[in-house]
Symmetry: C2
Subunit: 182 residues, 2 copies
Amino acid sequence: MNFCSQCGGQIERRVPAGDNRERDVCPQCGFIHYQNPKVIVGCLPVYQNKVLLCRRAIDPRYGLWTLPAGFMELGETTWQGAERETWEEARAKVSNLELYSVFNLPHIGQVYCIFRSELEKPEFAPGEESLEVALFEEEEIPWDELAFMTISRTLKHYFEDRKSGDFPVRMEDIEPSVKPKC
Amino acid sequence: MNFCSQCGGQIERRVPAGDNRERDVCPQCGFIHYQNPKVIVGCLPVYQNKVLLCRRAIDPRYGLWTLPAGFMELGETTWQGAERETWEEARAKVSNLELYSVFNLPHIGQVYCIFRSELEKPEFAPGEESLEVALFEEEEIPWDELAFMTISRTLKHYFEDRKSGDFPVRMEDIEPSVKPKC
């Protein structure tokens, strides 16, 4: 950040009065530009025994498989955002959302919230950001072609929890240099 | 937002190519300034049968009681943020954090994540943003002097769930015009 979004003045990096960390501060108008983590919302859509995955048509991880997910927007709830992303990326309608994965990715300032959900009908199609969308049985999951660790861990937990039918919310830290807990 | 934080150019409000909602876009350098919801992290610290509350020394809701909570910062996990806020506002050290409340507040672009936690020792003191900090038995909770609905609902669920000893993660929408689910 170079310029103040309020007045156009040159930004300084300093600790504001009463704060304890450096922020982007405008010495002209006094505005403090806070930057905070972002929330990624998405779904694990399930139809009968299968889960719905999308093959990415965008970078990063072009061509790899993922769950429909993306940045939460202002004015929506986490589950609304997860439904929206599932529609945008997989042209699929889901219901009965249940919070499942909550992952911290502090190295990139993200919190993932992924919901288990029911795919109402086996109807789906690639949205603009997907090359293809398909339903997978457990033994068909392309484990070596998954786009993100958040996705592989969610799927791993899901197939494990499915044995007992008990799906506790899973909160984990995912950091590049640290082996995830559990 | 009036000016581009990258180049200082005048911002335009428009839908970028490939997007479906209006953003703050810089026509000079092309930068898109996304704005997204923020995460509030906090704790419900428990010591023996009591919960720890802070009386706010800042607006909004000056003088009312709350749980220690605040904006999640870049570079930290949700539970690190919750521990940090508990230290900053109540000078209390907590452990064994368990995700408990996840509340959507779409009208103000916030997601609350509140953790049940154990107060290790009955040691606490008001931080800069608190007038006082105290432990409360269930029958002592100042229900009419709680600062936010996120706090009253978390406490209500907690005392209810304590009867069974089962504390499922509670996800709810809190909107000014809508009665919360459950």
